[in-house]
Amino acid sequence: MNLEQALEIVSATDPGMVRSHNEDSVACDAAMGLVVLADGMGGYNAGEVASGMATTVIVTEMRPVLERYTPLEGDIRTVPSPAQKLLRDHIARANTAIYQASQRQPQYSGMGTTLVVALFHDDKMSVAHIGDSRLYRMRSDEFSQVTKDHSLLQQQIDSGLITPEQARFSANKNLVTRALGIDPAVEPEIHDYDTRVGDVYLLCSDGLCDMVSDEDIGMALQTLGANLNLCAQQLVQMANDNGGRDNVSVILVKILHNYAVPRGFLSKFFRWLK
């Protein structure tokens, strides 16, 4: 069972109703089990450059590594997992590339991007994110947000200063506390999750979650999960119907089959125990 057969991946990106440029960038590679979404920021078109560099560097540089990679007996239970190390290294490379470009060119000064990456491997998903682009999961009619925003608003919610309902009305929306490419080094947040057949994952930029309620996003995934293309189009359409004040991007990944990596006796035993 190769990844291309196990995963159905669809993406859509749209400038929205207000912006003239699309500074979001999405990249998907089903054979690698890799999806990347970035929401760029910076004056003029610097955002476009930053997000484009993020997705290109990560996908291009991870490809040869993943093609060569064979999991070893010792992989089970290593913390952090090899997948996490891989993501961390390549995110660091993307960060360096964007940061150096911003230092060399005055018009790119201060540019950066949010990032959300998911790497599917061995019936698991490793998720790395920086900023306020999100990953959600729909599992058996239960819709939940997997990543926690790196934003001022999220910190206010965490400290009890503001409720999630009030946060929708805040004028401090869209202020992120972490970004890719802004500093010489950045700390992404990376976690591993088990996946199940039937799961649908949604990666999106804030152009979606700021314009459409979580309830409506969940409803779209639930009712249109059988047709991912239509689902992606519907999400973008809902964002635009509600004003489309920002670029909107979505990536949908549906788990069609198990994709565990076949291994020796010991690992089979551990998996049976899980």
Partner: protein, 250 residues
């Protein structure tokens, strides 16, 4: 810059700009907004401002604080909220758009530790259980002025409902006669795994789109393709062997 307009009996007394992280309100002279009236406590309330948001907190005053007629302990201030302390009214006016255009409004921006400090210090006072703020290095990128021109918040938009509400009436089969109101933005029809279509409710009206199944829905006698199709009043839909009529509620 957000501001408060103090008035009594409809007469405007003074305007106060919310420049500080903490703006105190009370009878004592050391308050930023001093109201010399016995119905107002010595230290009656405080307004905490974090960048573009302001929060009102009643400081256990004797007579309490109302916002838009409701007694509050803590309140997240929205444009045009009326705060009442005794016979006095403070109207909260949030920052005007000014320079920032609508296009700037939703822009994601990086929050620098410097700009953050003022905000988080105020937050730390207001909520003792404040989480650690993440410090992202020392380099100063000049984002300050850009943050200040953030326009006033618009509440998260609810979808503007089509003026008329659509209804569906089943015409044939076991459920013939049943009526359904199409209030949600998405309503699915049909049998999952066999044939499913979705009716979407948009500002422009209602649309039907095929979701899954070998057979496509039939609209007014014509088999549809994969595109969305607008539903006119009294359209007849045929799906999974069942006929139904779409119409607008009178």
């Amino acid at each position: 810059m957000a501001k408060l307009i103090l008035s009594m009996d409809g007469l405007v007394l003074k305007e106060y700009a919310l420049t500080k992280e903490r703006t105190s309100v009370g009878r004592k002279p050391d308050n930023d907004i001093q109201i010399d009236n016995l119905a107002v406590s010595g230290d009656h309330a405080v307004i905490v401002t974090i960048l573009n948001d302001s929060f009102l907190e009643d400081l256990d005053s004797t007579n309490g604080t109302l916002v838009n007629g409701q007694p509050v302990k803590k309140h997240f201030l929205q444009n045009n909220d009326i705060i009442e302390l005794g016979k006095y009214r403070l109207k909260y006016v949030s920052e005007q758009t000014g320079q920032a255009t609508t296009a700037d409004f939703e822009k994601t921006m990086m929050l620098r530790p410097g700009a953050m400090k003022a905000g988080m210090a105020a937050a730390a006072v207001a909520a003792p259980a404040a989480s650690q703020s993440t410090v992202v290095g020392d380099t100063t990128v000049d984002q300050g002025p850009a943050l200040a021109t953030h326009s006033a918040a618009a509440p998260a938009p609810a979808p503007v409902p089509a003026e008329r509400v659509g209804m569906l009436q089943i015409l044939t089969g076991g459920n013939a006669g049943r009526e359904m109101e199409l209030t949600k933005s998405l309503t699915t029809l049909g049998k999952p795994g066999v044939q499913v279509a979705v009716i979407t409710r948009r500002p422009q009206g209602y649309f039907i789109t095929h979701v899954e199944g070998a057979q496509f829905p039939v609209l007014n006698g014509k088999t549809l393709d994969a595109q969305a199709h607008a539903l006119d009043d009294h359209a007849v839909i045929e799906l999974a062997g069942v006929k139904m009529e779409f119409f607008f509620k009178a």
